[in-house]
């Protein structure tokens, strides 16, 4: 395996005539984004960053940059950015004026004291570490949970872990390797002109709005590059979004019927003999059983269930029999209780058509290198890539008893086998009830669970966090979660202020490894996520959890990154080398299963029990599930029937939830006839972040719910009116965006909204309840394996709001009421930095 660099790239630092220094670097977080590591040039004059631009020397982004990074200085030097540690007495939670600045040493003492106190009082696992989506915090979170808090209750708070983990896990279970992703020549030295490159005939884009979000670390506009070069797009999406209008086929399916659509395609491909016999014979296990299952679902049936015309399903299936094509599978597969099965079907679709790991097809990833697997991947030697890791770190200090009592693990075998961390829909109950044991200390790593980002029922998290004895949070701004529930605010350094590294798709896929090279010293006293861990590791209370014989991975950031990079398969360089070049690419390796590159024993084949792609999955069977995929009707749909009650192989929390709800409210569905989808991506924000930038608010001032003109007329609203969206679990207000891109019975409501300009005291806490779409999402509506909440297929009704939930303000007139003592604007030495 080889790496390469762009030989004629500019040096990392160059100088302009006026003394300005120009640094090449790469962003991740904070402020948050997915880890693509787009090329950045940061211009520095007199110690202050004056401008951020795209880096033409980045082989992927080539200078292109989205508005979030183009306006990063709005956040970097925002007057309200918190740059000194602050403490507030837990008795004063919810009071905006009760914070006081403390020293880092005081903060560390307090953390040490509270961890010891809570462990003594409630037990060794009475601590939880909460994380959000996609951010760099994921690189360090297991240090915080396993080695500082020494707890196994690290938790990604999204209901049903409905982001990436379901897709990634299915790829591990069926293919024994990492995520599968369309090939966009990202790991070829000559990119699209490379002799190894083959232009894909089709791109199958399934429930992913890559253009706006660079999802999971894939450069979204690579889609446009492919289409411009002649690849045809097949887009699967309930909305006619812009990408759909550029598609050869747009399959406008009913939300969360993805598995049915995939079955329809598989049925045509198998029964019309359009599959790759050679690949199936050599590399697939369980094809006959799989075929039998597929035959239970006819094309006519699939058309009826999905609302996609039958002829279109047939036509698309014929397209997919032509090699090569790429699969771009998105979040919509995770946010679906039946999503594990849709991913299973899509993996099978790429496999049986012979598109896995061929040029221009769908690349097989290496195993994940971002430790989002919690304790499972930290120092216990079970991880398949352990033999190549060179990390100086003592064994994980958590006990076996702690592992065994991790909240929710006993219920969900896949979490047990592959994740080793707390189950979000179970831990919320624990936080509320102290069952099976109390959890009273919480550490929030750059996430905002009270805002409508990823938690179901944020009002429950709000109340549950208030029960904690102590809550620590790390961030760059005050947010509704910290404002209401936290006691200690640790200010983070931005990506311009610290060193780090970024791998596309969390290290699973070839292409660039990016250096995030510190451009300036942190403003005020902000510290990077690494620095906080490093500092705590020097204290006697935590020292032995990090150091062996006086040495440790965390002894310096150079050490940490260099040792961490040994987990990036085939990379083979240290931090100095990466820092010097900023971007070092791993070459794409095709047909890895033929070349013995997927298995630890070096033999050809896949890293599964059978050595093949397991169309009939032994792993699913081992996890108490159906080894074959199956379709389940979305539970909020009028067509849902209770069919799994006596069926332990298929029953799920989602079914149990609806079974018991329907028993109590037999006719409820007719009151909530609209399908509510949430979470569509926006240019100007990453989930709940970026709302502080007025220029970004000019692009998107307020949250919108997209609705069809027919529905708008029926409820008497016009474009821009505030509407109330409600269902039995909650309600919120958004503005109507009247558009024909959604069907009359489907709406799409923006997520992530709160208002930093609103009062930060309780009960307002940044206006977070006004547009909190996640209050309409109940917990426990998740799939058989504990994965997949229906955030894209809820139910609701919509009425015109009798009054706006807040006073609307033009973006240039947005006025902050925040006045925190640890903010830039209150530091006399930093006032000159302020940008607004």
């Amino acid at each position: 395996m080889a790496t390469f660099i762009k030989e004629d790239a500019k040096p990392r630092v160059t100088f302009l005539d006026d003394g300005t220094e120009v640094y090449r670097t790469s962003p991740w977080s904070p402020p948050g984004c997915h880890g693509v590591g787009c090329g950045i040039r940061a211009f520095v004059k007199d110690g202050k960053i004056t401008k951020v631009e795209g880096d033409p020397d980045d082989v992927i982004t080539q200078g292109r940059l989205c508005v979030r990074c183009l306006r990063v200085l709005d956040l970097q030097y925002h007057p309200d950015r918190i740059v000194h540690p602050m403490y507030r007495d837990p008795a004063d939670r919810g009071k905006a004026d009760a914070w006081k600045v403390v020293t880092w040493d005081w903060a560390y003492d307090k953390i040490e004291e509270k961890i010891a106190e809570v462990k003594e009082k409630y037990g060794p696992n009475a601590l939880t570490v909460l994380t959000g989506t996609g951010r760099e915090a994921g690189r360090y979170m297991t240090n915080t949970s396993a080695r500082i808090c020494v707890t196994t209750n690290q938790c990604y708070t999204q209901t049903g872990f409905s982001c990436m983990a379901p897709r990634d896990t299915v790829c591990s279970m069926i293919g024994g390797a990492g995520y599968i992703e369309y090939d966009f020549a990202n790991g070829l030295p000559g990119r699209y002109d490379d002799p190894e490159w083959v232009q894909p005939k089709y791109l199958l884009n399934w429930g992913r709005d890559s253009l706006r979000s660079n999802p999971d670390g894939t450069w979204g506009h690579s889609i446009i590059e492919l289409l411009k070069r002649g690849t045809k797009l097949i887009n699967v999406d309930p909305r006619v979004n812009w990408l759909s209008t550029r598609a050869l086929y747009h399959m406008q399916l009913r939300p969360n019927t993805d598995t049915a659509l995939a079955f329809g395609l598989l049925n045509v491909i198998i029964n019309e003999d359009l599959y790759d016999h050679d690949f199936v014979e050599k590399w697939c296990y369980g094809f006959d059983e799989f075929k039998e299952r597929v035959n239970e679902y006819s094309v006519e049936w699939a058309a009826k269930v999905t609302e996609v015309p039958e002829q279109m399903i047939r036509d698309v299936a014929h397209c997919l029999s032509e090699k090569p094509w790429g699969l771009n599978m998105g979040l919509a597969n995770d946010q679906n209780p039946n999503g594990v099965q849709s991913v299973h079907c899509l993996y099978a679709l790429a496999a049986i058509t012979g598109n896995l790991d061929i040029p221009g097809g769908t690349n097989i990833g290496w195993n994940i290198t971002l430790d989002f697997g919690g304790n499972k991947y930290d120092g216990n030697g079970e991880d398949s890539s352990a033999n190549q890791k060179k990390e100086v770190i003592p064994p994980n200090p958590v006990t076996q008893e702690q592992r065994d009592t991790t909240i929710g693990l006993s219920q969900y075998k896949i979490y047990q086998l592959l994740l080793g961390k707390a189950v979000p829909d179970v831990i919320i109950d624990t936080l509320e009830t102290d069952e099976p044991y109390p959890i009273r200390f919480c550490w929030i790593l750059h996430t905002n669970p009270v805002s409508p980002t990823n938690t179901a029922a944020p009002q429950r998290w709000h109340a549950a966090l208030k029960r904690m004895d102590f809550v620590v949070a790390q961030d760059i701004f005050m947010n509704p979660t910290i404002a209401s529930c936290c006691d200690l605010f640790l200010p983070l350094a931005t990506w311009l202020e610290h060193d780090g590294y970024i791998t596309q798709l969390m290290g699973e896929h070839p292409g660039p490894v990016k250096g995030m090279v510190k451009v300036i010293e942190p403003v005020g006293e902000a510290k990077s996520e690494f620095q906080i861990i490093h500092d705590l590791a020097q204290r006697p209370a935590f020292h032995d959890n990090f150091y062996i014989d006086g040495e440790s991975k965390v002894s310096s950031i150079e050490n940490y990154i260099t040792q961490d990079l040994t987990k990036v398969v085939g990379f083979g360089h240290d931090w100095e080398y990466l820092k010097e070049h900023v971007q070092v690419s791993r070459k794409t390796e095709y047909l890895k299963y033929e070349r013995g590159m997927l298995r630890a024993d070096g033999q050809p084949g896949f890293n599964t029990t059978t050595g093949k792609v397991e169309l009939m999955s032994l792993m699913f069977a081992a996890c108490d599930g159906d080894p074959l995929p199956y379709y389940e009707e979305p539970v909020f749909s009028p067509y849902w029937e209770d069919v799994t009650a006596d069926d332990p192989l298929h029953d799920s929390e989602a079914s149990r939830f609806m079974r018991s709800y329907t028993a109590e409210h037999p006719d409820w569905k007719k009151d909530f006839p609209i399908i509510l989808t949430t979470g569509a991506r926006n240019w100007a924000s990453f989930h709940s972040e970026h709302r502080q930038s007025k220029m970004l608010r000019e692009i998107k001032e307020y949250p919108y719910v997209q609705m069809n003109p027919e529905l708008a007329e029926q409820i008497g609203v016009i474009d821009g009116d505030w509407v109330r969206i409600e269902n039995p679990w909650g309600h919120c207000y958004e503005k109507a965006k009247v558009t024909p891109i959604v069907k009359p019975n489907v709406v799409m409501a923006d997520h992530g909204w709160w208002y930093p300009e609103e009062d930060m005291n309780e009960p307002s806490i940044g206006g977070v309840w006004a547009s909190n779409i996640n209050t309409l999402v109940p917990n426990d509506v998740i799939g058989h394996y504990g994965f997949g909440a229906p955030m894209k297929a809820l139910c609701c009704r919509i009425v015109k709001a009798d009054k706006p939930p807040l006073k609307e303000v033009a973006p240039q007139n947005l006025k902050s009421q925040q006045n925190y003592p640890g903010s830039i604007k209150n530091d006399p030495f930093l006032k000159d930095l302020v940008v607004e």
Binding site: K51, E53, Q62, L65, V67, L70, W683, I699, P740, Q812
Partner: protein, 113 residues
């Protein structure tokens, strides 16, 4: 006659990302409400042929646009050209751009300040 320059916009592939607007504001320090290039949109609406849609973005330059004269003098590209996520903006002499435009089989516009 001196050579005139302009911008060739590939409207069919413009994804509406706003990067041109913001990059331009950054370069020239325009406040909220002021633009050197502004993205307009036609659609989305369904055409009479079922399943076909009109949804096209039209970045247009304003009175302010100087084609980033300072940047170009320093050997850089105009900032909207550099940052456009879809690489849908080209800068050059208008006769060259017009020749390219004549070859195009999709919605394209030529903008001259």
């Amino acid at each position: 006659m001196t050579q005139k320059y302009g911008l060739l916009i590939d409207n069919y592939w413009c994804t509406g990302c706003h990067s041109c607007e913001i990059a331009c504001k950054n370069e020239h320090d325009y406040p909220i409400g002021q633009f050197g290039i502004k993205m307009l949109v036609n659609g989305p609406w369904e055409l009479m042929e079922e399943g076909k849609w009109e949804h096209t973005y039209y970045p247009v330059i304003t009175t302010y646009c100087d084609l980033c004269a300072d940047r170009v003098a320093a050997g850089e590209q105009p900032t909207c050209v550099l940052h456009c996520l879809a690489s849908a903006i080209e800068y050059g002499p208008i006769d060259e751009l017009a020749a390219k435009m004549a070859e195009r089989d999709r919605r394209t516009s030529l903008l001259i300040p």
